[in-house]
């Protein structure tokens, strides 16, 4: 039986099924010359794989890993997970930084200052949420209560303040991210300083995922805008607290 090269190649490449495959196999079994042609085709595949498979065992260069991580981080979803917080910190440590993230940070970051204070006062519904004290913006009212008592991602429905992730800063103090709903949504980072929650970052968040009635907020420990993520990265020591560690910190009064 004569079998054309392309058919034989298709057999070697695993493209044939059922009766066609069985027919070739039968022919090979009966024809030593055909069997040799198959062996040659297989040997070529093996040699090619052998020449390039070494790449699979190599460590993937960090710049490629970062290209993937930055890309998705800056994508439309802007959703982070804990692993990414960790990896981003490692990246910062290694001195590399995504241009894209930096650009976002500059665009979105709102320095804590009078303007932010005014913004937050205006937004406050049930009393002032912040107070300036010795140049520091301190959490007050519902914001302070939520930072003290709310577990991450466990805000009651309709809550004005939602706590995102909690972590321990390098100076040993606890920090928590939060979001505030209102006519203009805000997100921020507060850290413990002298028995108080000091608001270190505050930024306006515009866009569909953060506007609306608060039910759309995706702040439950999984989503941060890049600028806030960067602020977290700059302070975080180790990983964000898991639920158990967070509950422990709360019962110890965030000491």
């Amino acid at each position: 039986m004569t079998i054309p090269d392309e058919l034989l190649a298709a057999y070697v490449d695993g493209e044939l099924q059922g009766a066609e495959r069985a027919r070739i196999e039968q022919a090979i079994a009966q024809d030593a010359q055909l069997a040799q042609r198959v062996a040659q085709q297989r040997a070529l595949r093996t040699r090619l794989r052998g020449a390039f498979d070494g790449v699979l065992q190599e460590a993937v260069p960090q710049r490629l890993v970062q290209a993937v991580k930055h890309g998705t981080q800056s994508g439309p979803a802007q959703v982070i997970d804990l692993a990414r917080v960790r990896a981003d910190r490692a990246r910062r440590g290694s001195g590399q930084r995504s241009v894209k993230v930096r650009r976002f940070a500059i665009a979105a970051s709102l320095a804590v200052g009078l303007a932010a204070g005014v913004l937050i006062q205006r937004l406050s519904v049930s009393g002032a949420l912040t107070e300036f004290h010795d140049g520091a913006l301190l959490a007050r009212g519902a914001l302070a209560v939520a930072l003290n008592t709310q577990l991450a991602g466990a805000a009651p429905s309709g809550a004005q303040v939602r706590v995102g992730l909690s972590f321990k800063a390098r100076n040993g103090n606890y920090c928590r991210t939060f979001s505030l709903s209102g006519s203009r949504a805000l997100m921020g980072l507060a850290c413990r300083e002298q028995e108080q929650w000091q608001v270190l970052n505050l930024l306006g968040t515009e866009g569909a995922s953060l506007s609306g009635n608060g039910q759309n907020l995706r702040m439950a420990g999984s989503s941060l805008p890049p600028a806030l993520l960067q602020a977290v990265n700059e302070r975080i020591s180790g990983e964000p607290l898991n639920a158990a560690a967070e509950a422990r910190a709360r019962s110890n009064g965030w000491h």
Binding site: E15, A43, L44, V55, V60, G75, S222
Partner: protein
């Protein structure tokens, strides 16, 4: 908590070794290969929404690497033309191991025309089904199989009989 973006990200990370292998089979040079892949990844990640759920993520990424490679070849050709224009063209053909059977696999692969090399890389090295490889290259199945056949034949000649002979 994970999102579709996170899931895609981790899947792409898992594919990186294979994507590096593919890039290396195209570019001949390990550093060029990683540069090519990095550019392709950046392109892919800014267009993640173009990937269609239900299709193979690896094929989509291979396609983007292929496009990036074609762009690279074009800009190389432009550079070379400019060099020729100013009389600085460096034509150093690789004649190492010209006698049949003494070429390395990489050298032999480099001798193939681009279209055959791509078919060989996708099917014989990456192990993709014909259908996927044809889609990645953007040609009908018949075109793929004939390029593959010619590539195989050329490689057999360049490399001599393999171990299976």
């Amino acid at each position: 908590m994970s999102s579709p973006g996170d899931l895609l990200q981790s899947q792409i990370l898992e594919l990186l070794p294979k994507l590096r292998r593919f890039a290396r089979s195209l570019t001949r040079d390990p550093d060029d290969a990683d540069d090519l892949l990095q550019g392709a990844l950046e392109r892919a990640l800014t267009h993640l929404e173009q990937w269609q759920a239900g299709t193979r993520l690896d094929s989509w990424l291979y396609t983007i690497v292929r496009h990036a490679w074609i762009d690279e070849l074009r800009s190389r050709a432009r550079r070379e033309r400019r060099m020729e224009d100013i009389g600085q063209a460096e034509a150093v053909p690789d004649h190492r191991g010209d006698a049949t059977g003494t070429l390395s696999v990489e050298q032999a692969l480099n001798r193939l025309p681009e279209d055959q090399r791509l078919a060989v890389a996708l099917v014989l090295i990456e192990g993709l089904p014909y259908k996927e490889a044809a889609q990645i290259i953007g040609v009908p199945m018949g075109t793929l199989t004939s390029r593959l056949a010619r590539g195989r034949q050329a490689l057999q000649q360049l490399l001599g009989p393999g171990d299976g002979a």
